[in-house]
Symmetry: C2
Subunit: 134 residues, 2 copies
Amino acid sequence: MTYTITDLSKMFNLPASTIRYYEKIGLLENVEHQGSYRRIFNDSHVDRLNAVECFKKALLPLDEIKLFFTYEKDMEKNSEKILEMMKNQEVKTLESMEALQAGLTHLQKKIRFYTLVSEAVKNKTPMPRWEDVN
Amino acid sequence: MTYTITDLSKMFNLPASTIRYYEKIGLLENVEHQGSYRRIFNDSHVDRLNAVECFKKALLPLDEIKLFFTYEKDMEKNSEKILEMMKNQEVKTLESMEALQAGLTHLQKKIRFYTLVSEAVKNKTPMPRWEDVN
DNA sequence: TGTTGAGTTAAAGTTAACTTCAAGTTGTAT
DNA sequence: ATACAACTTGAAGTTAACTTTAACTCAACA
């Protein structure tokens, strides 16, 4: 199967400029350029973009993602390096999750508190204290 | 209690330049400047920085954090606005959590796969297939 | 008195990941 | 033939959240 840049743009909900950018920095390789005319992508590029999106969700930076793909070309030789990279990122991702969870908890506490404040204002009852939501 | 910039720097594990920056953009208010000499912070600044760090963990941008503090000055009047802001951010934070969780799952699948690859290389046994880790 | 160390300023620089721009090219529809 | 839409390029611009730089100022200590 072949795809235009607009096909991929719609498939991945990414602006065409981003897809061009990914090619430019080497995340997408061997893209056919019909003369100096249009790009033609194939299923390998779809797979790549899928992988890129997954790694992006894990907060892996683009240059690391690129490095992963170069390692992956000789995975027998590079499996240890890949493993190290993935495990390092796992730690970072878990740390981000913890921070995010803490942030969410804080947010939800604020929501509980200001819900009480809103009610107190509406009903002209006494203001809540911050301790009330602990 | 009063604090120097280095005290806060150590307390919050933030570079002094970041604390100055926070003052500059209005996240820290009413900081005493002993002549054109040193900053003197107090417990209200410690509270502020604690709140800032919590909101940062929830991925709230600094300008929104600042807005929150201005709303908070008249919380009876602004409780609805604060509530809206916090609820919006809660949605975004939850979305980030989901993406992060998906990313982590992807990462851990790669880890399982390349662990098998490493073992296969070491033991000179056949390479695993990607389906083996599903 | 001179040096040191902690702090000050405004302004410029950094980073990642895009995004926008201006000018040009190509295939197709009228 | 001409207009149009979709695509191309390299280069410059954008954003948030800092960080760095260079030149300066105190207070305290030897």
